[in-house]
């Protein structure tokens, strides 16, 4: 659809030039010869919404739906701003605030700008989880995110650069935000935003794109594996000297695979491994070489874990393609500052595999709702360690019940430990771990934690088929 539209414009441009050339000795140029295009409006909210249409505010699932309002007393050099009331963590109608502002109508041509800017302040100093643009709920093709933005109690200006403005010729995802209370001990707060607009600032400079967070990463892989290029970031230097890091959607990049017959990469950063060998993924963004790379070392055919055969009626599945999984908050909470564990999850012929990288500890959280495993007697894990198993391998799985109050660290938690020792695992082989559930209270299970113990230097492993059963 988009392609055919573009083709049409090209054709009309060509025809228009031919036409004008032919008749130029008789007529002046008329307005009719102007190439059609999308609105070049940069303003989103400047004391009032600008050309956003009526149905532009679309909250994220689980966010407090009425967090957003227009404040008619407070504004940046005005008396009007967007006000977000971030709810307390225990608010039953939603425990965070987040939404996209999507143009209700045709997209905008933002190619003449190089940054989204706005003024912001809050009722208390806070690090806002995310601001950005390019999220439209239609694939979020050109999404850009600035994470952990410091907002104080006085107005300050936030500048979020556009990685490659030439891509944004028809963009509806004008603005988005997500604000929680992890950093405020669960207490809600207010954020005001004003003069939200796209601008062209000569002071936004020194673009430095990166993949794999700028590292030369490598991963073991196999025929049939599908994985993604991750760590897509770009750093800009702003007039203040601030090094602004943004997270960038893959569609801004041009990816290259050194050996596509081993591992090819598509424009969305999806890598498909199809033969044994090595392929190095690199990228450019708007003509600048991206720092970092991803080397795929394909070992050939992959060995899938044994397919689970237990009756689904006797299983509560946390992660398996053989069963319907219960709701899971996350498989990696990226717990800062202590956890270094990354995720490089992949799938092989439809079987999704969790892959933890740079591992020290990591957790899977099941708090919405908590898992009631009171009718279950066993727990199962399939574990695979690619490459050599460290001699000091020592691995602990903890299952944590959050007790009758259902709150993590609420004073009534209980925990079961399952130790996996060096002699239980074999390199490059799936190992099934089946352990009895010894937790007395196991009707409010909120966490499964995996960790290295006794200085174990395990850094990389795969996990599949995590479930409780009887």
């Amino acid at each position: 659809m988009k392609i055919s539209k573009r083709t049409f414009y090209k054709m009309s441009l060509t025809l228009g030039v031919v036409f004008m050339t032919t008749v130029s000795c008789e007529r002046d140029l008329s307005d009719d010869a102007v190439l059609a295009g999308f609105s070049k409006t940069g303003e989103i909210y400047t004391d009032t919404f600008v050309s956003m249409g009526s149905d532009f505010y679309l909250p994220f699932a689980g966010s407090k739906p009425d967090a957003f309002s227009v404040d008619s007393q407070v504004g940046y050099q005005s008396n009007s701003s967007i006000r977000i009331d971030v709810p307390n963590a225990v608010d039953p109608t939603g425990n965070y605030a987040g939404a996209i502002f999507r143009v209700d109508g045709a997209g905008r041509d933002l190619s003449g700008f190089n940054a989204l800017t706005f003024w912001v302040k809050a009722s208390r100093g806070v690090s806002v989880d995310a601001f950005g643009f390019g999220q439209d709920f239609f694939g979020d093709k050109y999404q850009v995110t600035a994470n952990n933005v410091n907002v104080g109690t006085n107005w300050s200006k936030v500048i979020i650069p556009i990685p490659d403005p030439s891509k944004l010729v028809e963009e509806r995802g004008a603005f988005w935000y997500a604000m929680g209370t992890q950093g405020t001990g669960g207490s809600g707060y207010i954020v005001w935003m004003d003069d939200i607009k796209f601008e062209n600032l000569a002071t936004v400079a020194q673009p430095r794109p990166a993949i794999s967070n700028g590292e030369d990463a490598s991963t073991s892989s196999f025929i049939g594996v599908n994985l993604k290029v991750t760590g897509l970031i770009q750093t800009f230097n702003l007039a203040s000297g601030l090094e602004q890091v943004i997270t960038v959607a893959p569609s801004y990049y041009d990816f290259t695979a050194s050996d596509p017959s081993v591992a090819a990469v598509d424009p969305f950063g999806n890598i498909a491994v199809s033969a044994a060998g090595t392929s190095v993924i690199t990228a450019t963004l708007a003509g600048n070489d991206a720092a970092g790379s991803l080397t795929i070392n394909s070992q050939g055919n992959f060995q899938l874990p044994p397919a689970p055969t237990r009756d689904p009626n006797n299983v509560i599945s946390i992660f398996s393609d053989a069963y319907t999984n219960v709701p899971v908050d996350y498989y990696n909470g990226f717990w800062l500052p202590g956890s270094s564990t990354g995720s490089a999850d992949f799938s092989v012929n439809g079987d999704n595999i969790l892959n933890y990288t740079n591992f020290n500890y990591v957790g899977t959280q099941t708090s919405n709702p908590l898992v009631d495993a009171s009718s279950m007697t066993m727990v199962h894990f399939d574990l695979y360690i690619p490459g050599p198993v460290p001699n000091n391998f020592d691995f602990l799985i903890s299952i944590e019940d959050w007790g009758p109050n259902g709150v993590d660290n609420g004073g009534d938690d209980s925990r079961q430990q399952i130790f996996v020792r060096r002699n239980q695992v074999v390199a490059d082989t799936w190992v099934s771990i089946d352990a009895p559930l010894t937790l007395v209270n196991r009707d409010n299970i909120g966490l499964i934690i995996y960790e290295n113990i006794n200085f174990s230097s395990l850094r990389n492993f795969y996990l599949d088929n995590v479930y409780y059963y009887n």
Binding site: A202, T203, A205, Q206, A239, G241, E243
Partner: protein, 282 residues
């Protein structure tokens, strides 16, 4: 043309006050006022950096080391770099002088860079000194285009010899240029100085012209077409030492130091100061 001149004059009135504006109005009848903020238009010395290779040895010498040999380790400012004259640190290429700071272990230092100077090769009192420069960037980078007074074969020492800093800049403040004068009673942290913030443009993404116009009892500082300061004997807190000696030109990139602070952990290297030309007018 008339309109443009009129607008420029309006700017001057705002920036410099009626006195300077009326001077400019008087001079504006001259049709070839290319650099309107200046009155000295007779080009008497230049290096356009048109020959590839090392800087012209008839014009430029180089300081080598970390200042220890001169008795001022860290060049008197706790700077971190070791100066060399290797092409990695200083070279003329494609019509541009490049002074490049590198992060490398070298002779006990963590950084290398270069500092070239016209001492004993070209020295002059008074004139319009200007250079067209694109600056490096990042926390801890400290490039400079400056003049030092002749020391009469060591008979005089800093700050008595005088120092005119035409351009200084902190890599972490990419929109701000500093112009300063050091002399007896007003040196180091007590220098007579003023900064100018471009606000809407940067110094590391494009070339800008940095200059002074220096005459008896005054030094005017400008960047591009903006005259942003004038320093006279009334402004300094000591003797005015700029009407006696000849001065020579220095161009360098320091890494770290009292003026700029420690280099940042994430500062990107190499960092290069690009100089299109240096010219002196009378």
């Amino acid at each position: 043309m008339n309109l443009t001149l009129q607008m420029i004059h309006t700017k001057f009135i705002l920036r410099l006050g009626i006195f300077v504006a009326s001077v400019m109005l008087t001079l504006s009848c001259s049709p070839d006022d290319k650099q309107q903020v200046t009155t000295k238009n007779n080009l008497v010395w230049q290096d356009e950096f048109n020959i590839d290779g090392a800087p012209d040895p008839l014009i430029w010498g180089a300081d080598i080391g970390n200042g220890e040999a001169e008795g001022i380790p860290g060049w008197g400012n706790e700077e971190r770099q070791y100066y060399t004259d290797r092409p990695e640190n200083v070279v003329v290429e494609n019509g541009v002088l490049k002074i490049t700071a590198l992060k490398e272990s070298f002779q006990g230092a963590d950084y290398t860079s270069a500092r070239i100077l016209t001492k004993g090769k070209y020295q002059k009192k008074y004139g319009r000194f200007e250079a067209r420069i694109k600056l490096p960037w990042g926390q801890g980078l400290w490039p400079a285009f400056w003049l030092l007074g002749d020391d009469n074969n060591g008979a005089q020492s800093w700050p008595q010899i005088g120092e005119i800093d035409i351009m200084e800049y902190r890599g972490q403040e990419p929109t701000i240029v500093h112009g300063s004068m050091h002399g007896p009673g007003y040196s180091g942290g007590q220098a007579i100085t003023k900064q100018y913030d471009l606000v809407t443009d940067r110094l590391d993404t494009n070339f800008h012209v940095y200059g002074i116009e220096w005459g008896p009892g005054y030094v005017n500082y400008y960047i591009d077409d903006v005259l942003y300061n004038q320093i006279t004997p009334d402004d300094v807190t000591g003797n005015w030492v700029f009407d006696d000696n000849e001065f020579y030109i220095i161009m360098n990139v320091a890494v770290g130091g009292t003026f700029v602070g420690a280099p940042g952990l994430n500062t990107v290297y190499p960092q290069t100061m690009h100089v299109d030309y240096v010219r002196v007018y009378e």
